[in-house]
């Protein structure tokens, strides 16, 4: 008679439910985890945006966040006994584990748009609630009492500096801020050997890994996301990514990661970069050959493809110079896929502010052409069935009422282009780390005007997308219904707010 034993791991890697989910295979629904539950019970809200993933018999998720997969790969390549474990399956593994590593995009809901929904509604977003619930679980507290070491990192590691009460409460041993592939091995060795751990590690640009030092993922990533490059040459002052060197993954490295995802049964792929159109580029000059090969490669393994980010200037330039957007969509759009999703930073409609904070964002066009570049790029995207979720930043340092009026005027010109537009409050990051946060009391009438335009634009196009593109097929009917009800609720609330604003204005 054979007996099945559960494998044990020295190092567990995890996150809370808002991260450990595939958002029903729709990456954009991940945005919903940044809000508080509005008009719905929290359980339904969580089901809508963060359903439990499929796991194996010991609680390892089939799909896990890409950043956690990189840490797992680095540890496995170095010979450690490590695994990503779904938060609901931690208890049995914590009895044996010596180290718990946790990553997150937004531990305490301090990034945009979480902080914005929190400030506007006065309610804690579900990503924060979910993370705090995880850390207060008895099994983690018990393991900590037994000597478990806890190391936290990821893009939101900086938030621990501003939440030292939780650093104390949860007994975090080390916070790692920055690309972790090089330093994580050293930390794991120390933790397992019982040596003293540093309280804080900031990974500076000279310690970022070279491409050949970045390991390939060993298990599938959420929604088939694969990195194609790191860094960005545009040097926008509000963005931390530009502080790191630009590095391109070679195609064979990307293909290995795509194969991992395809073997796990994933049917979609997200190409991740700050600007996918810069893959293989020389400066800002797109490389059509490299891009077409990359897209052909992705479609060889996956039915559907999405871009994480592009820039509007590169969309315009790539199309005007070599019809590249047409060529790429000819590869991507087929009988399996009738649109392509992407997130894009619009940031501001003000040329004056663009000159201050993102002088190279419009390049190779002049910064004075920024609004025109935005409009032309949006027309190109609309024509090619590429649907962007645009983000704006409100409350940038030195922002004036004229800047906000310029943004509102630009939004009026974008009315007929299919997109969602999400206004975000300024969070001091990148070269603007030392600047002040944008708070509720800083909101002016002009901010409200911009937010109103974003709201009605997004409602109009969300209804269009839900009826024509998003979540088609009977298997998605319950989720589609909940989303339609939610959009109707937001529309109803929006009208109430409009009435309230008008009553204030008319006295």
């Amino acid at each position: 008679m054979s007996s099945k034993t559960t494998p044990t791991f020295d190092i567990l890697i995890t996150s809370d439910r808002t991260m450990m989910t595939n958002h029903h295979g729709r990456e954009f629904l991940g945005f919903v985890t940044t809000g508080p539950p509005l008009g719905l019970p929290e359980k339904i809200w969580m089901w809508m945006c963060a359903p439990k993933p499929k796991v194996d018999e010991v609680g390892r998720p089939v799909e896990a966040p890409y950043g956690l997969r990189k840490v797992e790969a680095a540890l496995l390549d170095a010979g450690f006994s490590a695994a990503i474990i779904d938060p609901d399956h931690l208890a049995r593994h914590l009895r044996h584990a010596k180290v718990l590593m946790i990553g997150h995009h937004d531990y305490f809901a301090l990034n945009s748009p979480s902080i914005e929904w929190w400030l506007l509604t006065g309610k804690e977003p579900v990503n924060r609630r979910s993370f705090l619930r995880l850390m207060r679980r008895p099994e983690i507290r018990e393991a900590k009492r037994r000597g478990l070491k806890i190391i936290v990192g990821g893009p939101a590691a900086w938030q621990w500096l501003w939440n030292t009460n939780f650093w104390r409460e949860f007994g975090i041993d080390t916070v790692v801020d920055g690309e972790a592939e090089r330093v994580i091995i050293e930390l794991a060795e120390k933790a397992l050997a019982g040596e003293e751990l540093p309280l804080y590690v900031y990974v500076g640009p000279p310690d970022t890994p070279r491409i050949d030092e970045i390991p390939e993922i060993k298990g599938a990533s959420v929604n088939g996301l694969v990195e194609i490059m790191r860094g960005c040459p545009r040097n926008c002052s509000f963005c931390p990514v530009t502080l790191r060197p630009l590095r391109f993954y070679p195609l064979d490295k990307i293909e290995k990661e795509m194969q991992v995802n395809a073997r796990a049964g994933l049917r979609g792929c997200i190409l991740h970069s700050e600007d996918v159109l810069l893959y293989g580029a020389k400066g800002l000059e797109p490389n059509p050959d490299a891009l077409i090969k990359l897209h052909v490669l992705a479609k060889k393994y996956f039915k559907t493809l999405a871009w994480s980010h592009v820039t509007l200037a590169e969309v315009r330039y790539a199309q005007e110079r070599s019809n590249l957007i047409t060529k790429l969509t000819e590869v991507v759009l087929d009988e399996n896929q009738d649109y392509l999703g992407v997130q894009i930073g619009l940031e501001t409609g003000s040329v004056r502010l663009a000159k201050e904070i993102m002088p190279a964002k419009a390049a190779p066009y002049s910064v004075e052409e920024w609004p025109e570049t935005v409009e032309r790029a949006m027309a190109i995207l609309h024509e090619h069935r590429i649907i962007p979720a645009l983000t704006l930043i409100l409350g940038l340092p030195n922002e004036t009422e004229e800047d906000l009026i310029a943004t509102a005027e630009l939004l009026d010109k974008l009315r007929d282009y299919r997109s969602l537009i999400v206004p975000m409050f300024f969070v001091p990051l990148g070269q603007l780390k030392s600047r002040s946060w944008f708070l509720r009391e800083h909101i002016k009438d002009e901010h409200i005007e911009v937010m109103r335009r974003c709201l009605w634009h997004s409602i109009r196009w969300a209804e269009d997308m839900l009826s024509k593109f998003y979540l088609k097929g009977p298997q998605h009917a319950p989720l589609r219904l909940v989303l339609k009800l939610f959009v109707s609720y937001v529309k109803w609330r929006g009208r109430q707010v409009e009435k309230w604003l008008n009553s204030i204005r008319t006295g």
């Binding site: 500096l161 030292t164 540093p198 590690v201 000279p206 990148g430 780390k433």
Partner: protein, 68 residues
């Protein structure tokens, strides 16, 4: 950039506040990685709180902070 260098601070023995002293050392260093060992700060996390503004600024090298 060169390799790694280690600075040790005894908070109670320093004439200048630790954040000022560390900032000077970081500016002067030409190394890729700076390891800082701090003793005598009382609550370990409160030392990080004192260094928060410095650590929130853009740092051009790796900083590893131990607090005893």
């Amino acid at each position: 950039m060169k390799g790694s260098e280690t600075f040790e601070f005894e908070i109670s023995a320093e004439d200048t506040p630790i954040e000022t002293a560390l900032e000077k050392r970081l500016k002067a260093s030409t190394n890729r990685r700076v390891v800082v060992k701090i003793r005598g700060g009382g609550d370990r996390i409160s030392v990080i709180e004192r260094l928060r503004d410095l650590l929130s600024a853009n740092i051009s090298r790796t900083v590893v902070i131990y607090v005893e």
